[in-house]
Symmetry: none
Subunit: 550 residues, 2 copies
């Protein structure tokens, strides 16, 4: 019987140290809900400092309810020469709503000498008193032993004294951190074994690894196999330098390879969608080759593979992809696609036969090959279905559109768009200005269409997202534009893909208005988003709805 | 004293199974030369089949001379029911120039039953006779035991019989393959230990891992630590599904962490440039977070880190980046202090006083508040520093630029840009078409500037990224554009931020060209490409230029 392993997610704090990683307070709250729905035990939210972003985050988190996850605030031991009860940061942690506080402290003599210039004995006092202060203030404390493995290699007995100081002070758990990512699995494994024995079971331990040697996941597993009962990591392994240990792969391995029941089967199925939604929030393209959850993780090419898979999937697969919410690329995708199409048609109140369904699937396949991606563009997909079902009326006939952006010597940028369209046989020519070409194009199109369909003027573009596909082709790459629109009741997503960003945006704009005019609310009365969220539990479906809008 | 470890690269064969991986015969020859210069011992070139591409590859390889690496041809044991001496594929291998042949055979009963439908005894005969045939034909044979670890878990004694059959037939080395990537380091380690003991040192062993559990590197190291003396992998871990074990990280770990002298110090310095040039040949954007060789692998943000690094780099780095041809990067961000700015200035050979440094920091803070982010835009930051240091010359004076994008009734999109600039008192007016407005603007600007600064026409935009900030404002949100440029030796990043995407792109374009014209190489070099150019032989750096142009 394996011990229970606690999953500790550091995406919102350590993950944000990664290059280009940034989330608004609102986005962080959404991430927290996705982590909660996945079954993460502890979510490290960051330091509740006085900067507006952090203030808002902790204010929001205090109001949110989570099914399972606990929120941990993160900080440091008191600063040198300042008594804990006078340390400003410790007071901020004490005043924070979070019942759980993780504080990090020094363990490595090199850092004591070279970085913080703190005497070894004084450091022990700082560790003890900081923890004692927080406990007096009613907090539960997790102690992160920074640079532990470097420290242990350098001076094992002093490193152990730091851990014992934290344990005696009342920390409920001591986390061994490979802060510089300098350790390998066999080193982590033997050190953890010795530490667990050395602490004589007086306090629980945890592990916090980084991926500098491309061993972050293996290191975390080695620690668990040697007695650590909490694993810290980040979703998709985001983090500074080469990233933190990837909690997604750690979960996959613990549950499917090592027999630890860290999640329920229902939660495990969320692993793939959760990993992808968090990439979307970070505006990072999901890694197609990511273990367990990547699009190619269970992809097979070659006749022998396919034949083997048909005979017995275990011949060429280390596990069933469905267990982690992923799918086999060759065989299952088509069926899944067909199922999705039929479901969507029904959801939109459309009646399409098998032939039409097959045509839609072919069309979708071609479009996806060109860079379309309908997961976040249900409205565009529904318009495809309407065309096949013969329930599509074009909103207008395009004669032409044109955008002009110019900058003069004074640096002033001006931007206008002109559209020429026919509606019901009448020609409409409109020109509008905007602070960007797409904004101007949108204004011009709406001013014309609004005369015939006044209610469409209420449609608001709530979100505009651009991703360059094949980024390494420089400015000649293909552009994917995702637009989310709302009429105040429903929100829907549309997509455009073209080498030219304006042309791609135009496609998404037109789909947005055509959907608004033609699509009737689905039986559930909540538009396509709800369908997107199908298969996820209610609590999370709200989050999915929200996050897809980002 | 550690045993000698043989480095076996499978990039040209197994690596090509990865999604979208493709190289011409000519490119494969270039890769082979880069691998040879790095110090790889054996290069697996593929199966010398009769298709034109493979024919050309092997014809070329036969004519090339390599300093150190041996070429291995790759194939399978004879097909069921066909005597080895009549097996067509084995004859092709026998006729190939390569002195070394790697053949893969079955070991796992599940595959014998479900896939190839071969009797267990017959399989042993196929292994023995195939190897004996190739040895009679004068080849040295490496035997790849496919699915070995699954087989060993399923029926250890039969798996061992397969290995003994290969050894008795005269294979010089037996490679244990985790073909489905289903094993973890502790399983690989113990199995390898038992196999090495079981074979009684009669034959050398090797390891071939995949990354399905995100443990490909750790698995390979576990095998070496338990007696395997050859490691197979691919550069940057390319390969099917989640990829093969990453030979780049394996080399970094063996040499810098485990004390195996797999390369000379001079060869090890090539690790980063070689990893990058192979990405370029594959037309893949190098992973900035890749262990050992990524742009961020030794990146630091935050004042405390930078201060620590200055006191003693080992406080925050697991090794000296220069050993593997990488370099320390100091990411400038809100977290960063003046230390970082001073380091940056020094790195750019600029002398700025404290007052100037303070001004730059204020400026950076204001810009970051507006959405700028200099972590991925060193060149824009350096230009900022140059302006403060009085070492900045504008490349031109802008009179105006204009982009026009239009679509007609037929759906045809056309796009042009016109720029009017003054260079040295002369007015240049240029109009260019492009498949997008930014592409057209770039072409127009370059055609004008190229007349005065011809070398700037060689500057390539290798990466163009767009992020909509504050996405909830729909198309009126602020746009951040990041551009990576390269002159074939160096790459640099520039940034633009504006409500208008074209205006933001223009800022980044201009910075890119001004940096190319003005920035002198920093003492420490400015990125992998520079060290590539410095560190590699002329022949190779010629390749770089070519590949960046592709």
């Amino acid at each position: 019987m394996n011990p229970t392993i606690q999953l500790y997610d550091a995406t919102l704090r350590d993950g944000m140290q990664g290059e280009g990683m940034s989330l608004t307070a609102e986005e962080k709250v959404r991430v927290a809900h996705h982590l909660d729905a996945l079954g993460i035990d502890i979510i490290e939210a960051g330091f509740p400092s006085s900067n507006p972003k952090e203030l808002e985050l902790f204010k929001r988190l205090e109001q949110e309810t989570f099914q399972h996850a606990q929120i941990a605030a993160f900080g440091m031991t008191s600063r040198r020469g300042i008594p804990s009860h006078e340390d400003e940061s410790l007071h901020i942690l004490a005043d924070c709503f979070a019942p759980l506080v993780t504080i990090v402290g020094k363990t490595w003599d090199l850092h004591l000498e070279k970085v913080v210039k703190v005497d070894r004995e004084e450091n022990l006092v700082m560790i003890s008193e900081s923890i004692e202060f927080l406990i007096r203030e009613g907090k539960r404390v997790i102690y992160d032993a920074e640079h532990f493995f470097d420290a242990y290699r350098s001076d094992a007995s002093y490193a152990m004294r730091c851990l014992r100081a934290a344990a005696s002070a009342g920390a409920e758990r001591i986390v061994l951190c490979d802060t510089n990512g300098s350790s390998l699995p066999h080193q982590i494994g033997s050190a953890v074994k010795e530490v667990v024995a050395g602490l004589g079971g007086r306090v629980a331990t945890g592990i916090h690894c980084h991926n500098d040697l491309e061993c972050g996941v293996a290191n975390s597993l080695a620690a668990v196999l040697n007695g650590a009962t909490q694993v810290q990591g980040t979703m998709n392994g985001i983090g500074e330098r080469t990233g933190n240990a990837n909690l997604v792969s750690i979960i996959g391995n613990l549950q499917t390879k090592l027999g630890y029941a860290v999640l329920t089967d229902e939660q495990l199925v969320r692993l793939t969608p959760t990993a992808h939604v968090i990439d979307e929030l970070l505006n990072v393209a999901p890694d197609p080759n990511q273990p367990f959850v990547g699009r190619n993780a269970f992809a097979h090419k070659g006749g022998l593979h396919v034949a083997g898979i048909r005979a017995d999937a275990s011949t060429f697969e280390h596990m069933e992809p469905e267990l982690v919410g992923n799918e086999r690329a060759l065989l299952v995708s088509e069926l899944a696609g067909r199922h999705t199409i039929i479901e969507k048609a029904a959801g939109a109140g459309l009646d399409i036969d098998d032939a039409a369904c097959a045509r839609v699937m072919d069309h979708v396949k071609r479009l996806e090959h060109d860079g379309f991606q309908f997961e976040a563009a249900d409205a565009s997909l529904e318009l495809l279905l309407r065309k096949e079902a013969g329930e599509y009326e074009p909103l207008f006939t395009l004669h032409s559109w044109r955008t002009i952006v110019e900058q003069d010597a004074s640096g002033r940028v001006s931007c206008e768009a002109t559209i020429k369209i026919d509606i019901g046989g009448d020609r409409y020519v409109r020109t509008a200005e905007g602070n960007g070409p797409v904004n101007a194009l949108d204004a011009a199109l709406r001013s014309a269409i609004g005369e015939v369909h006044p209610h469409l003027t209420d449609v608001e573009l709530v979100n505009y997202k651009v991703r360059i596909l094949d980024e390494h082709h420089g400015t000649t790459a293909t552009t994917r534009v995702l637009i989310d629109s709302s009429d105040g009741e429903r929100t829907w997503g549309t997509i455009g893909v073209a080498p030219n960003i304006i042309a791609a945006s135009w496609q998404a704009l037109v789909d947005s208005l055509e959907y608004a005019e033609q699509a009737k609310p689905s039986p559930r009365g909540s538009g396509p988003r709800r369908e997107l969220a199908q298969g996820l539990a209610p609590a999370a479906s709200g989050d999915i709805t929200a996050t897809v809008e980002t």
